[in-house]
């Protein structure tokens, strides 16, 4: 098991290495003069030459790349070109917001998708199945931000049920310590604020979770139907087990496998979708920050965020693969 994990982690190195080359090349392909970007109005030829020498921009590209790689290996992800704040500090302040949103979306998608998929599978080919399929087709087709706007209009403005902006009511002036609102409000012993934070989380989670919901529903349905036709399910029924026990012990335990894979694969899409959701709901997370960085041509931030997201994606998939071994004893990683 440990050997497997080590091998997988080693396997991730060439991927990240390749990605660092691509990102480096991409950033250097972009037009734009770093002098004007950094110096702005104070740009003179002399200042520019000094800056280029300081930043090492006159060195050959290979030297520049190796220097970039060296700093990456030391854990230095660079700093904002605009205000010189270190990437990692700024990232860590905002990342909890994105984690909370992503987990909220996952809870929504998994919590609703699996029951819906099981329901559709049990009543396969009926009108109920048709309704579930139609919902999931709609979920896949509607862009995240369009759904987000519709939710804001209907539940926020129209019905006034839920807040549509930010992570907590700004008038409450709650100072977050860890930037995880849900944890902080509980630690502060303020259940009223906790409820407020949860209410803020609901609409963004639904918007972001709609596509994973659709995918998880369809996979669960297909997987349950497939397992239901297995011989051992028939045997279980034949020996007189209750329908509920067959469902829990024989069908679901085996149907879980493809579902977990798909849940793991959703993480990448969720992180990307967070960019839009955070913009629609004025959510203070990494996504909105990156969009601002792209607007300001602050490429260090964009570059490093992509690398960190890729790393997260690799780690999550590793965790999912390890999870298989526990879900399915037939799989043993040698």
């Amino acid at each position: 098991m440990i050997r497997y994990i080590v091998r997988r982690l080693l396997g991730a190195i060439p991927v990240l290495f390749g990605l660092s080359i691509v990102l480096f090349a991409f950033v250097h392909l972009l037009p734009g003069d770093p002098c004007s970007a950094i110096l702005g109005q104070h740009r003179t030829e002399e200042a520019c030459a000094r800056l280029r020498a300081n930043l090492g921009l006159d060195d050959p590209l290979t030297v520049q790349y190796l220097r970039y790689l060296g700093s990456l290996l030391r854990g230095d992800l660079g700093a904002s070109v605009i205000n010189n704040k270190p990437f990692l500090d700024e990232f860590l302040v905002r990342f909890p917001g994105t984690i909370e949103l992503t987990l909220g979306a996952l809870v929504f998608a998994v919590g609703l998708g699996i029951p819906l998929g099981r329901l559709a599978a049990r009543h396969a080919q009926s009108w109920l199945d048709g309704v579930v399929t139609a919902i999931s087709l709609f979920g896949i087709s509607i862009p995240v931000f369009v759904l987000g706007l519709v939710l804001v209009v209907v539940f926020g403005v129209g019905l006034g049920w839920l807040p549509t902006q930010g992570r907590i009511d700004a008038r409450l002036r709650f100072e977050s310590v860890t930037n995880f609102m849900l944890i902080d409000t509980l630690l502060a012993g303020r259940p009223d604020l906790f409820v407020d934070a949860v209410r803020h989380l609901i609409l963004p989670s639904i918007a972001l979770g709609s596509i994973p919901l659709a995918i998880i529903t369809r996979i669960t349905r297909a997987s349950v139907i497939e397992v239901s036709h297995e011989d051992y399910v028939r045997t279980a029924r034949a020996k007189g087990l209750t329908e509920r026990r067959v469902d829990e012990r024989h069908i679901m335990r085996n149907a879980w496998l493809p579902v977990t894979t798909v849940i793991g694969l959703q993480v990448g899409g969720l992180l990307a979708g967070a960019v839009l959701t955070e913009t629609v709901f004025v959510w203070n997370g990494v996504g909105r920050w990156v969009v601002d960085a792209i607007g300001n041509r602050d490429l260090t931030i964009v570059q490093s965020t992509i690398l960190v997201f890729a790393l997260i994606f690799l780690v999550v998939n590793l965790i999912v693969d390890i999870g298989y071994a526990f879900l399915n004893p037939r799989i043993r990683y040698a």
Binding site: P31, I142, A310
Partner: protein, 315 residues
């Protein structure tokens, strides 16, 4: 299959009968060519027909909408509305935006741009994707390796981020650069698919036969193999159209897309956002629904085409 041993002689006689009926049917079918067969299968796909109907409405809207409702999108109504615009009752059919512009005209003009962006992006992506995939799959060896490693690299970058960065640096709010960006970033998945198709098709007898009578490589690759790979390519092409429409809306919504004067669905959504608080639901709702409906319709169409163009499909 499991009920096979239980079959009585009587039912097997029935099967024999239907077997001969099926054989007659096959004979009758031989007069239909591939496309007629595909069309026959496509017609039976109800959702695909719904998709075609919705798309037909959208295309009609794009082409004739502004002619039937002659309303210059930049021409403002004289009695200016409040910041929330006119609601759909005060100004049918879809209400107006804060400047008094008909949301219907916004949607119709947006349809023009979205359809244009979708189809041109698709043409660029399909051209590159088919070329790269065909060359990699047909010739194999180091060419294949080189091209596919490049595809792997492009696919490993988070797509939305790269689109945003490219739109910010190369887009400049213009239509043509934006289409080029979408097209140049949308082909790798298709190239991989085409390569896989070529890998299996190039081993088939008809390729050997063509080679035996002296047909050249290029002609085999594009005249003999390509028509056999067309089904999956057409299906992914429809999905690329849908994706490009979403991309435009997404990029414009984040203000990296078309400039504000251009009427597109994404721009309409972007401008509506700041006024949602005053309750102008019609302003984001109709462009949003236009995007969603178009994408759903294209997905239905793709689904129908997938079934219709599959040569192994059952009648």
């Amino acid at each position: 299959m499991s009920d096979q041993p239980l079959r009585t002689p009587a039912t097997s006689r029935v099967t024999a009968l239907t077997d001969t009926a099926a054989a007659d049917y096959e004979v009758a079918l031989e007069s239909l060519n591939q496309w007629q067969l595909a069309w026959r299968r496509f017609r039976r796909h109800r959702l695909a027909l719904v998709g075609v109907a919705i798309l037909a409405v959208m295309v009609f809207l794009a082409v004739f909408g502004p002619i039937i409702w002659p309303y210059d999108p930049l021409d403002l109504r004289r009695d200016l509305p409040g910041p929330q615009g006119f609601d759909p009752i005060a100004m049918p059919p879809f209400g107006s935006d804060g400047a008094g512009r008909s949301v219907f005209v916004l949607v119709a003009n947006g349809a023009r741009l979205s359809m244009l962006i979708g189809t041109t992006t698709m043409l660029i992506a399909v051209t590159i994707g088919v070329l790269v995939g065909a060359v990699a799959g047909f010739f194999g060896g180091w060419v294949d390796n080189l091209l596919m490693r490049f595809v792997d690299l492009v696919l490993s970058i988070p797509f939305l981020f790269i689109v945003l960065v490219a739109a910010r640096f190369f887009g400049g709010g213009e239509l043509v650069p934006l289409i080029l960006i979408f097209g140049l970033l949308s082909w790798p998945g298709l190239a991989r698919l085409v390569r896989a198709l070529y890998l299996s098709l190039r081993e088939q007898e008809f390729v050997l036969a063509a080679r035996a009578v002296g047909v050249g490589d290029l002609r085999i690759a594009f005249r003999h193999i390509l028509p056999n790979a067309i089904g999956p390519v057409v299906v992914s092409a429809t999905l690329i159209v849908a994706n490009a429409i979403i991309l435009e809306a997404f990029v414009s919504y984040l203000n990296f897309g078309l400039k504000a004067q251009d009427i597109s669905w994404g721009n309409a959504l972007a401008r509506s956002q700041e006024r949602i608080a005053v309750g102008n639901w019609w302003w984001p709702f109709f462009p949003g629904m236009a995007i969603a409906l178009t994408v759903i319709a294209i997905n239905f169409l793709g689904d129908g085409l997938r079934d219709a163009l599959d040569p192994r499909a059952k009648e």
